[in-house]
Amino acid sequence: MDCQEFRRLIESYLGDELLVETNHYVLRHLENCRDCREQLATRRELRGRLRNAVITMPEMQIGDIFASRLQINLRQIALQPNIWDRLTAGGFAGMRVALVGFACLLVVVIGGFFMLRSSNDQIAANTDTRIDQRQTLIEANKARLADAVKVAWNELSGQAVGDHKNCAVKFNLSERPISLDEAAKKFGRINKDIDKTVFEATKTAFSDKPASRIELLEAHSCIFGGRRFTHIVMRRQGKVISVLVTDTDLPAEANAPLTDHTDGVLNAAGFSIGRHAFFIVSDMDAADNTAVARAIFPAMRRHIDAAGA
């Protein structure tokens, strides 16, 4: 055997897959060839190292918890008798029990069929009762959901009031507001020119009170309590009025006034438009505040619809 032939057989030799005779030839060649011995030693070492690396690598080890759980499951599957086992356990006696059981089942099925026919009225009455009970449950669930939604809207109104206090009154936000143009690019076209819409609509709302002059103080996009608001700040007769718009996926009756929120000083009136909520927050009295919200609502809806938001 020469080196070339040995190299052809080296893989099979390593795998202990050669015939005894061929193995002898290989061993004889190895005795006299240092190069092939080294080649073999290197490959054997690599094989050992590969095996060792894979077998000891932590990520290739089965988890103890998984292994124990699987063992418990398998034991349950293995030892849990099935229905037929239960019925036929005990040999002939068990089989007799099974047959008697089957006969009883047959009687019950046939009897049930005739009883079913004769008691249709009773079943219908029972069904009506069940439907009534189900309806009551549905109504109760609806009421609970409505309560939960109301609470969520009140929380949202509270956040709008918080933004008004901390942004429009105290200028105390942790994050600097951004312009409406920038917000339009980043957060949606609804921000574009919304200040003009709000200001014009609010002026119109107070048009029957010519003495009242409205100023637009500020318009930006700001964050309060982790929520982003489009915020337009106006002033009328010394009172600061905020219009705040924010995204929400809370369910709401379309175009309905959602909330009238007050903390004793500030009042908030809110509406839902699509996936947005808008609030008027001010220290005007609650009725005026809600009236302004109602008055600017149509313009807000047109603006939001036009923005495709």
Partner: protein, 182 residues
């Protein structure tokens, strides 16, 4: 009742003694096949459930590990078929043989991690034969049965798989500036 319980307990006892100790081995191969722990656990679980259900067909004197790994391969095949991953592999052996035109020597000073990463880079059809024979120590015949391949194909893939592994390891050594030993 007593008879059934005893029969089941006896079978469970045999399964517990023969198959359960091989759970780490099955998981290791599953992990190699899936490369993901959660999938490997699913495969291992499904393999053992199927093995338990068909344990009456298992002959006690045969190789239980090979029997379990055969089930594992079948379970994995079904999983891949469901995912649309199972496809006929083009026979690229000749192509790959051409890329391995020289016999690289194996560098020293490689870590276990580097060896693992190197075998992961070897195409799966070759690396799985290397894993089955060199790591899991199945015979050529067992590997051929597991992979449903002729024994000659297993041998040629093993030969090329090992050569590709050496080539990968030489590449790793090159990256770190480790000189090869000839």
């Amino acid at each position: 009742m007593f008879g059934i319980g005893t029969e089941r307990e006896k079978e469970w006892g045999a399964f517990e003694a023969e198959a359960l100790p091989l759970m780490p081995d099955v998981f290791r191969v599953a992990k190699w096949l899936a490369r993901d722990t959660a999938i490997a656990e699913d495969l291992t679980q499904e393999t053992f459930i199927q093995a338990l259900k068909s344990f009456h067909r298992y002959s006690p004197d045969t190789n239980c590990r090979a029997w379990l790994i055969t089930i594992l391969y079948r379970v994995n095949g079904k999983r891949r078929m469901k995912l649309g991953q199972l496809k006929l592999v083009e026979d690229t052996e000749e192509q790959i043989a051409q890329t391995v035109a020289f016999e690289p020597s194996i560098p020293q000073h490689l870590t276990d991690e580097e060896i693992i990463r190197a075998i992961e880079r070897v195409p799966k059809k070759f690396s799985e034969v290397v894993m089955l024979t060199d790591v899991e120590e199945f015979t050529y015949k067992e590997a051929a049965e597991l992979l449903d391949l002729p024994i000659g194909t297993v041998m040629s893939r093993l030969h090329r798989g090992r050569r590709l592994l050496r080539q990968e390891l030489t590449g790793v050594a090159g990256e770190y500036g480790i000189a090869s030993n000839g």
